[in-house]
Every structure is written in C-alpha cells, then in structure tokens.
C-alpha cells in the first residue's frame, strides 16, 4: 500500500463517471480531491469516511495548503484520538461543488473554460454518490461514516442511499432537513454574493477580481449562526475595539464587528463565491424525509447500521430537536441508535472545538462497533 498512489495526503482522482445527478444532469468526468490516513486492513473493514461541513475540505488532519493552519478536526483525528490512523483507514474527500480540488464551478468544463454557473446544481445525495465512486476506486466496500453539520447530512444520506455499505454512522450537530430559518440565512449569504458587482453572473474567474465583498458578508452572516449569544457576549460583550469611546461613524467600533470582518476577509482567501452558492443550495434542498415518501423512518428501513447522534445545547442553527426527530425516526425503524445532547457554550461551532465528552462518546461508539 505504501507504493499505491491512491493513498496518502493531497490526492486527486478523475473518474470517468457518469455521475447521474438528482437535478437530472450528468456529470462526467468527476474529479475528487481527497486524503487518506492510516492503512486499509486486509479485509477492508477499518475504513472511516469523514464528511466535512459547508466550507470544510479534505485536509481533516493535515496542514491546510492555503492558510497553513492544522487540519480542521485534529481534535478528533490523529494519534491517540477517537479516529486514529494507527487503527483506522481514514478517508476525507472534498465534496463536489466545492473549490478545494473536486469538480465544482471553478473547474474547467469540456470547453476549457470554468463551469461557473453552468455547473449543475447538486444535492447532498449527489455529493454522497461521488464519495461512493471514490470509495469504490479505493477498494472500500463497507465503512463507518462520521460527520458534523453538513457532514452529518451526508452521513445520514449515506445510511439511506447505501444501507448495505454503512456499518456505523456518527452524526454531530446536524439535521435531516434544512428548516425555513436555515434556508433564510443561506439566502442572505447568496444575495450578498450575487449583489456584489464583481460577481458578474458568476463569470469572474478570468478577472482575478472575485466578489470578495459579497462573499465576506455571506460568511459574516453565517458565522453568527455558528456561535451562541452567550458565547458572543462572553467573548466580546459590548467592548470597543482599540478605542475608548464610540467613534460616531461606521468603522468597527465594537470588537465583535472587527472579529466578524476578520472572519469574512480571511474566508475569501480560501473559498470560492460560486462554490458557496452551490453548496448552500445543496443544503437547502436537503430533506431526507421528503426523499422517502415524507416519512423519515422510511429512510432507515433495512439499514443495519448503528447510529450515534450528538447535539449541543447552545446550537441554534441545528438545535437538539432536529437530532431528536432523527432519533425518533431511527427508533421507529428499529435501528440501533444512541443520542446525547452535550453542554457547551460555543453553539454550533462546538463540534469543531475541544470537547472531551464528544471525543469520549465517539471513541466508545466506534470501539463498540469493533473499530
């Protein structure tokens, strides 16, 4: 396996497809950027697929090539961590529609120009189908799927679409559908991007002058939804930024303002505005119950997978009741389900931060499944 070019960091594969999309179009070929950690064992039984969130990527436990920061989930993935390359064969792929190397609006279409808005609208299930193609390529048939937020949606979709392939599923701070409020926040972000004159109908790649202002605003609005009010108050309160009194103007007087501006600006360095449009759309379309005749339990009938769900008490983006309705459906379907609401001051972001209880739960759950 050491000499197998398929495995390791910063890998990419172009598969011929065709990938039939929910929207009716066909994507061919399909490029998927991914990383693997650890070694696939002889009977290929130790594979863990990690599904990333909206603006995440394949660099789950390796240094990000643009920001130079450690992987986004080194708290969960690494030596001695619940997901451990010493025991597990770990796969993390960049979702299609994204901008970190997988097929998306920024990649070249057949005519050599970037797809831009010609890229077909995709769904969470399309992302999962592409991941399944990657796993076939890697020789992985059955797997454990783990993900938070949009990653959790992919895990749910995996269990529903490939019930005979998923052995265990960990869904953290997620939901089985996007609520009207979720869609509303995403629409604010999309409108901010499309209102930026530099968006140019999505055709900005040649200009080297992307709609950074719009994307930054989109990120600022979204970022608020990732935090809790208590967390924001604790961190910033109404403290002023580098001044003693308000400036009676529209500079960033408050620390929270400059914090958000920083979040927005640093985001545009590593993310593509069109990808933001496509991926938020995929999340908005997500409704696992609707895909299964309006009954969420039907999505899990016949699934042999064990499920573990975790929510955080201050997460108002995907609140506990969303996890609970998934658990109810799992119970109704007779699936083996665990669920716990953990306490954290950090809101939705808690799943990315230091959370010993989360690690303990995930570790126990994986080990009980023989992983």
């Amino acid at each position: 396996m050491e000499h197998d070019e398929r495995f390791g960091h910063a890998r990419s594969v172009t598969l011929p497809g065709p990938l039939a999309l929910d929207g009716g179009q066909v994507l061919t070929p399909v490029t998927i950027a991914y990383e693997t950690y650890g070694t696939l064992n002889a009977d290929a039984s130790n594979a863990i697929l990690i599904c990333h969130a909206l603006t995440g990527d394949q660099h789950v436990a390796s240094v990000h090539p643009v920001t130079g920061k450690p992987g986004w989930w080194v708290r969960m993935v690494g030596e001695g961590k619940p997901i451990d390359p010493a025991r597990h064969f770990i796969v993390c792929s960049n979702v299609i529609g994204s901008c970190m190397g997988s097929s998306g609006p920024a990649t070249a279409a057949a005519d050599g120009n970037p797809y831009a808005m010609r890229f077909p609208v995709i769904t969470i299930r399309d992302m999962v189908r592409a991941q399944a193609m990657l796993l076939d390529h890697l020789g992985v048939r059955t797997l454990t799927a783990v993900g938070g937020s949009m990653g959790g949606m992919q895990v749910l979709e995996w269990a529903a679409t490939y019930p005979d392939r998923v052995k265990s599923a960990v869904i953290i701070a997620s939901a089985a559908r996007h609520s009207a409020q979720n869609i509303a926040f995403h629409e604010v972000g999309r409108q901010a991007i499309m209102a930026d004159p530099k968006w140019r109908g999505g055709d900005y790649y040649e200009s080297n002058d992307p709609p950074a202002a719009g994307l930054a605003v989109a990120r600022m609005a979204a970022h608020i939804t990732y935090l809790s009010e208590a967390g924001l108050t604790e961190k910033f309160g109404r403290q002023l930024q580098a001044r003693d009194a308000v400036g009676f103007g529209f500079d960033a007087d408050f620390q929270v303002e400059s914090y958000l501006r920083h979040q927005g600006l640093s985001f545009v360095d590593r993310f593509d505005a069109n990808s933001y449009l496509y991926i938020t759309r995929a999340m908005d379309y997500f409704d696992l119950a609707e895909e299964h005749g309006g009954m969420l339990a039907n999505a899990f009938r016949g699934s042999k997978a064990r499920f573990c769900l975790v929510s955080f008490d201050t997460d108002w983006l995907y609140p506990t009741r969303e996890s609970r309705s998934i658990v109810q459906a799992l119970n109704a379907a007779g699936a083996a389900a665990s669920f716990v609401e953990l306490s954290s001051p950090y809101g939705h972001d808690a799943f990315l931060l230091e959370a010993p209880e989360l690690n303990r739960v995930v570790d126990g759950f994986l080990r009980a499944g023989g992983l």
Partner: protein
C-alpha cells in the same frame, strides 16, 4: 445469567437480569449509566436499548458501546413502535414520571412484557417516619429530602396491585426486597422496602 455478571448490580436489577430471556430484545427506560444493559448484553446476548435523561449517564453508556438515547420517559416513549421489544424495563423511575399511568400504558405497548420496580411508600420505616417523626421519610430507597426529590408520584405495593387489577394487567412475577434480600409475599406492603413486578397485557 452467571453470578459474576450479576455482581455489583443493584438488587432490583439483579432480579430483572435473572428473568430476562437470553437473546431477547429489551428497552431499559431510565437506564442510568447502562449497568443492567451491559450485563444483559454481555452475559445473555440481549439486544438492549436504553433511554436516560441525564447527559453524563448517556455519555458513559454510549462510551460502553451501548445504544442509549437521551430522553424522558414521559415524552419519548411514543416514538417507539408497538411490540418492538420483548421487555420494557422501568426500574426506580415510575415514581418520578409526570403521568405514571400513561407511562405504564406505553411500556405495555412497546414491550410484550414489562419489568417495573419502585420503592414502596407503605414500607414500615416510611410509615414510622411519618407517623412518629411527622417528617417526610428519608430512607435508603427514598434518600433525598422533600425539596430535592425527583419523586413526584409515591406509590405503595398495594396501590400498584390495585392499579394492575383495575386495568386488567396480568402479573407474571413479583419480587419484594429489603435491602438486597428477597422477602416473602407475606405482608409485603408493610415489610418490603422495594418491589419488582413483571407484568403483561
């Protein structure tokens, strides 16, 4: 089940563990950290699922590899389909529920049979405490002062028997405990600190 597995289990749980058929499916409601579920799984091959209200307990149980859902017996049993389990187990929880009668209905809907264990409020020490001390009793099975107790529907063994009769529920087994020792059925309502019933529709 062998003695080793039962060692360390609370006495009422030991009785339940002794009478759950190997290889069956059981739902333990108010499962705590999963001690009973783990014993049932490891030593009788029982497919055990749990519900527990306390997050720390749930995390402990999940870390043990058990399937436990954080939830409340009063509201979360409706999500389980009828006849999904061979046994529904409610140990030392009935007296903490808001609507014990509805919870019992749910137990017998979800499980073919149900184990119910509860502290007996007619136990002589409890009676003595109220009669002579004039204070709300604090005993081994009712260890918390009146203002902090989770118990909101105290009951006695005779209350429970009357309830079963009234609802036409069949008693398949009954065990009466003083501490960790079984006591006879004779005058159980007065002499037993704790009771375990196995019931069915």
């Amino acid at each position: 089940m062998n003695d080793q597995a039962l060692l360390g289990l609370r006495p009422d749980l030991r009785i339940i563990a002794d009478h759950v058929a190997a290889g069956s499916r059981a739902l333990d409601i108010g499962c705590g950290d999963g001690a009973l579920m783990a014993a049932l799984r490891d030593h009788a091959g029982v497919d055990a699922r749990g519900i527990e209200i306390d997050a720390t307990n749930v995390a402990s149980a999940v870390a043990r590899g058990l399937s436990v859902v954080q939830g409340d017996a009063d509201v979360d049993l409706v999500g389980y389909p009828s006849g999904a389990f061979d046994y529904a187990i409610l140990s030392q929880t009935l007296q903490t529920t808001r609507a014990p009668d509805k919870v019992l209905d749910e137990l017998l809907r979800i499980g073919a049979k149900a184990f119910v264990s509860f502290p007996n409020f007619a136990y002589w020490r409890v009676r003595a405490s109220l009669l002579w001390g004039g204070r709300m009793p604090v005993t081994r099975t009712l260890p918390v002062a009146w203002y902090a107790t989770p118990n909101i529907h105290h009951l006695t063994i005779d209350d429970f028997r009357a309830f079963l009769k009234e609802r036409g529920i069949v008693t398949e087994g009954a065990w009466f405990l003083n501490g960790d020792r079984l006591t006879s059925e004779w005058a159980a309502n007065f002499r037993a600190e704790h009771a375990v019933f196995l019931i069915r529709r």
